[in-house]
């Protein structure tokens, strides 16, 4: 399970982060740059992992930190900076995931000479006829994992990402997503169930 070094370090070393924030709020650009560098690797990794596209991840990065820059004066230290930043980042990523979901739903039915078939069905047929060799199996597993993750709702996907890959606690995740720990738990449970259903033969 991946632990998020930048996030964890950033959350714990709050005195240093606090002084960077205060300096940045006073207009110190170097302090802002340092603040960005404390967190930006984990932000970019989150975006890359969720969106699987360097171009999209780059857009998320840019938009998130520009929002931070513009709104930093309004940060009142009533939560950790990490949580505040991740509220911004997760919002932008969720928007992206929702847009994709709509696009996918619009385009997931393709016309063939036999009429409409679903891409997922076609994939599963391919998988059933596949070569039993290990590399093929691994490739199928990889594809299946992508399918399983795509099957999650944007919110489930986000909770899973933050818990599994970024190693954040569900209580913290709830705080970031503006919900309760209990709701985050339910999300994680549903995400896991769905993935187990899709990956049934593989895991």
């Amino acid at each position: 399970m991946a632990q998020d070094a930048a996030g964890a370090v950033g959350a714990r070393l709050s005195p240093q982060v606090d002084s960077l924030i205060r300096a940045a709020q006073r207009g110190d650009q170097d302090a802002f740059e340092q603040l960005v560098r404390t967190y930006d690797q984990s932000v970019l990794r989150l975006a890359m992992n969720l969106l699987r596209s360097p171009e999209d991840a780059r857009d998320v990065y840019q938009e998130a930190f520009l929002r931070v820059y513009r709104n930093l004066h309004a940060f009142r230290f009533d939560c950790s900076f990490h949580t505040w930043l991740y509220r911004i980042v997760t919002n932008i990523c969720l928007d992206q995931l929702r847009k994709r979901k709509v696009r996918k739903e619009e385009s997931s039915v393709v016309e063939t000479s036999d009429g409409a078939i679903d891409r997922m069905d076609a994939f599963e047929e391919d998988a059933a006829e596949a070569d039993p060799e290990r590399s093929m199996w691994n490739r199928q597993l990889k594809d299946k994992i992508e399918d399983a993750l795509r099957d999650l709702t944007p919110r489930e996907r986000m909770v899973f990402e933050l818990r599994h890959y970024q190693g954040l606690r569900l209580r913290n995740i709830g705080e970031m997503l503006g919900t309760t720990e209990e709701a985050a738990k339910n999300c994680l449970f549903r995400a896991t169930q769905k993935m187990r259903a899709v990956l049934g033969d593989f895991v």
């Binding site: 970019l44 449970f189 169930q193």
Partner: protein
């Protein structure tokens, strides 16, 4: 606890998100129930499979994002037109190579460097981003960290200082100046296999002043036989250069390896230089390797010189 209620808690148990009480109850149940134990094992397998999907952030992408952001904040130009240094330059500067006049935007589009940096290449050449991304993802950065100090403080926090070394893969044509700079840096690496490989590539580019200097340095000073031999081969086309001839004579006089001296004599005698007669005569007197003596003898004969000084 029933199997039904435990199965709902297994993902949370796996992620350590249960209260201690709930955790105890789940564990008690697991001790007695093979079915739920299997379900936990499946959860672990699922997590392990998902771990493999983790993406590493290419450091160059990170650098590019940082530059874009700073450009935007400083009221900067649109990102494609920014004039600040690109990650490639930063990378080379980071490893200590000096750079002037590098402008990646003006580089030709062909199969030159930045191929492994596919994502960036695609941005600037306007190519289809899909193909290069796959290339980039095959060479993820590795981070090696060495912890230097650990200091607990009274507040219950720990301060840890560590050095990070990032491993990165780049690829490009030998024509590329950046690749040549990297090879020059590699020619001074501690790992002799890296030096041999680098020298083997650099020897084809001896026309460049920097490469020539590196070959001359390596042929005399490198402790590895393979590196010295490669460097010697590289110097062959530069025999017209008096400094090169002087260095080859130095090798012939001083190198402890007969293989290197053989190679040196082979290179040296390909071009007649009457001013070397006395040096070759003295070498002939000292040399105990027959092949080299014969070579020297023939060279002296070609120059109408005797094999010894009388």
């Amino acid at each position: 606890m029933t199997c039904d209620s435990v199965s709902k808690l297994i993902p949370l148990y796996f992620y350590g998100e249960l209260t201690p009480d709930e955790e105890d109850r789940v564990e008690d149940h697991l001790h007695e129930c093979a079915e739920c134990t299997t379900a936990l094992a499946r959860q672990r397998t699922l997590a392990a499979a998902l771990d493999q999907r983790q993406t590493e952030v290419p450091l160059l992408l990170l650098e590019d994002c940082r530059m874009d952001l700073m450009a935007a904040i400083q009221g900067g130009a649109p990102r494609q037109e920014k004039s600040s240094k690109g990650p490639w330059t930063l990378f080379l500067e980071a490893i200590g190579a000096t750079f002037t006049g590098l402008n990646r935007l003006q580089r030709p589009v062909g199969a030159v460097a930045l191929i492994a940096l596919g994502f960036f290449a695609s941005r600037f050449t306007g190519g289809n981003p899909a193909a290069p991304i796959a290339t980039a993802s095959t060479s993820p950065d590795e981070v090696i960290a060495t912890v230097r100090s650990v200091h607990p403080d009274s507040a219950g926090h720990v301060q840890i200082a560590f050095d990070e070394t990032h491993r990165r893969t780049v690829s490009g044509s030998m024509e590329d100046q950046n690749i040549q700079k990297l090879l020059l840096a590699a020619a001074r690496e501690e790992d002799s296999a890296v030096r041999v490989e680098s020298m083997g590539l650099l020897k084809t580019r001896a026309g460049s002043g920097e490469v020539r200097d590196e070959l001359l340095n390596a042929v005399v000073n490198d402790p590895n036989l393979g590196v010295r031999l490669e460097a010697l081969k590289g110097l062959k086309p530069l025999l017209g250069d008096p400094q090169v001839r002087k260095t080859l004579l130095q090798v012939l006089r001083g190198d402890e390896s007969a293989a290197v001296r053989k190679e040196a004599v082979d290179v040296l005698v390909t071009q007649r230089d009457d001013s070397m007669v006395s040096a070759l005569q003295s070498l002939y007197q000292k040399e105990d390797n027959n092949y080299i003596r014969l070579k020297l003898q023939k060279a002296l004969k070609d120059m109408n010189a005797s094999i010894g000084t009388f």
